[in-house]
């Protein structure tokens, strides 16, 4: 599919959307469907699965999905511009190892963590440089840096693990607010969430992100700094992945080279489930949060119901396929209803 047809389709969609009443535009969206699905699944799980209704479940659920929640924020923005970052989980591993190695080497933990964050930014800048300055496809670039960053992580630490971290920080990673079941790290996430929501939905920078995803050429002509925007987003993804890596290390009290292997696919699955198109130009943060929580609630509930993690894998995969297939099926139906007798134009699919 060429950029022009994508953009044309998006413009057509926008016009169509404004034909509809406001309540339909707000409530009948892909994002809201996922939000509703999360609520339904949570209620059903609370009613049928023993133990899921307990408040402590919420704590563990949130702690479990926290790395995905964090990384999904920048990933959403990157995917709306039509790019992708497969190297995030490797940055998690690398920052985890760096924190561990530097702490073991005698540096204070706080300094080590800052160094890890800077390293995350550097990793993101490498991705951003290769994608924007050299002009390479991000899927290929980040498959390369996925291997590179993971290789550095494993190379630095081998198969050993570093487990000696300050008690204060390890307990803080698992701490709850007062007597409640709200994990402290949730506040870190909420702050970041606010930043990203404002950035994406209330600033020219954010509108530029959508514009780039719809049509890079059109965005450039309208004065959007396409390259600079993408570069910033990759750096953001690097820093937040490093933050997730530090959290991961503290939560499990262990820095290992293979920490969070395969997390990139979970993040992308959640983001896509939340309604972000891999072609770019479409998606919203609330949908993505719902996507992450849907996978989280499902796996937590099923695990409590003694269903193995493999069934959870099948369900995750099926959900992903179903959610995109239904969307395109509904679009096809609507098109048919619009043009009776006319065969809808066939468009070839492309890889993200």
């Amino acid at each position: 599919m060429t950029a022009t047809t994508t953009a044309a389709a998006a413009i057509a969609r926008t016009y169509r959307d404004y034909d509809r009443p406001l309540w339909q535009r707000v409530l009948l969206t892909r994002e809201m469907a996922i939000v509703a699905l999360v609520l339904v699944v949570a209620v059903v799980a609370a009613a049928t699965v023993r133990g899921f209704g307990q408040p402590i479940t919420v704590t563990y659920l949130l702690l479990d999905v926290m790395p995905i929640l964090l990384i999904a924020l920048p990933m959403t923005l990157i995917m709306i511009t039509g790019e992708i970052d497969l190297s995030v989980a490797s940055i998690v591993g690398l920052s985890s190892v760096l924190t561990g190695v530097l702490t073991a080497g005698g540096l204070p933990f706080e300094v080590a963590a800052v160094v890890a964050l800077v390293a995350g930014a550097v990793c993101g800048a490498i991705n951003g440089f290769l994608v924007t300055v050299v002009g390479l496809p991000s899927l290929a670039v980040t498959i390369g840096t996925l291997a590179l960053f993971r290789g550095l992580a494993v190379g630095l630490l081998g198969t050993t693990a570093i487990t000696d971290f300050p008690e204060f920080w390890t307990s803080l990673a698992k701490a709850r607010v007062g007597g409640s079941n709200v994990p402290v790290v949730l506040f870190v996430f909420l702050v970041l969430l606010a930043v990203f929501v404002v950035l994406l939905h209330f600033t020219p920078f954010g509108r530029g992100i959508y514009a780039i995803g719809l049509s890079k050429a059109a965005a450039r002509f309208s004065g959007v700094h396409v390259e600079r925007t993408k570069f910033v987003l990759f750096v953001l993804a690097g820093v937040i992945s490093a933050l997730a890596g530090i959290f991961y290390t503290l939560r499990f009290g262990s820095a290992r080279g293979d920490n969070a292997t395969g997390l990139e696919l979970q993040v992308i699955a959640a983001v896509v489930l939340g309604g972000v198109s891999v072609f770019g130009g479409r998606g919203a943060i609330h949908g993505v949060i719902a996507g992450v929580l849907l996978i989280g609630v499902l796996s937590s509930a099923l695990r409590l119901a003694n269903v193995t993690s493999d069934v959870i894998n099948i369900i995750t995969g099926a959900l992903l396929v179903l959610s995109v297939v239904t969307t395109s099926f509904l679009a096809w139906l609507r098109k048919r209803r619009r043009a009776p007798g006319g065969t809808p134009r066939v468009e070839a699919s492309t890889a993200g």
């Binding site: 290929a140 840096t145 291997a147 993971r150 494993v154 080279g257 493999d310 890889a351």
Partner: protein, 340 residues
Amino acid sequence: MTATIEKTAVTKRLHAIGAVREFGILIALALVVLAATIANPNFLFSADGWRDLLLTPAILVLVAIGQAIVIITRNVDLSVGSILGLSAYLTGRLFIDLQGIPIVAVFVIAVVFGGLLGLVNGALVAFAKVPAMVITLGTLYAYRGINVLWTGSDRINASDLPKDFLALGTGQILWIPILTIIAVVVLAVTGWIMKNTRGGREFYAIGSDPAAAELYGLRVTRRLLIAFATSGALAGLAGVLYAARYGTINSQAGSGWELDAVGAAVIGGVAITGGVGSVWGAAIGAWLLLTINRALPILGIPDFWQRAVVGVLIIGAIVLDRVLAVRQKRKLLEAREDDR
């Protein structure tokens, strides 16, 4: 006079070889083998070294060929590792549950089985018009989940498999491992089809510009189905060979291979944006990936660093590709200016 003509003909030929994308990666492979052999002659000149050099990459080569075909159509197949795992376990189960089943039958069943799984991917991509990355990310999870459900904590051991079948995994004909021969035959056939047949060229046409291919009247849907089914079938074949080579199969067989296969294709010059590259390149890419893994310890580098080297390689290959493409574009522009 004749001498100069001959000279230009020779240099032209040399230029043509140098311009082929696969050539650079082949040189890289030769350098790795050379360096490792200098460090330790056994890398190439011992019976084991020679066998491993040919045998180890054979299975990934098959998966990478299928991946290359799919990527050339501007799609991607992330489910190949899961398909490989499933068909490897199926292979084991067939031998256990149907005692005395002919080995050929097992090959056919596993290849058809893999092809069907690939067809599911292809149908979802072609009919629902959904990005292949999302679909095959979904089936990566789904197929692996089915595999783990089916396998459970069960594991198939070499003792469960017929001796003849295992001999296939390690056997050789004239110092060349049988698995390598299978891989090379598949490579030659697919390479020929992709280069010389109408159907093969259509994959490139679709990948270069899907909309134009559609307008031109190419059967895009059918081509996509064939591409994904081929990728699945080759992953299925790789699954049988995996069982023959390693003997032990658990539920995690082949997990993570999808990125290796995509990486091999990318290193071998298959552009992720479709329409460019060859299955030969992907095969050499796969060979290089796995040879580096064995060469590093010999060169005195702990193999922990293998993935980092692979990463640098992938990035280097796509940067080189980009540089060549830019230069080619400039040359074409200059040629156009000259014509005026």
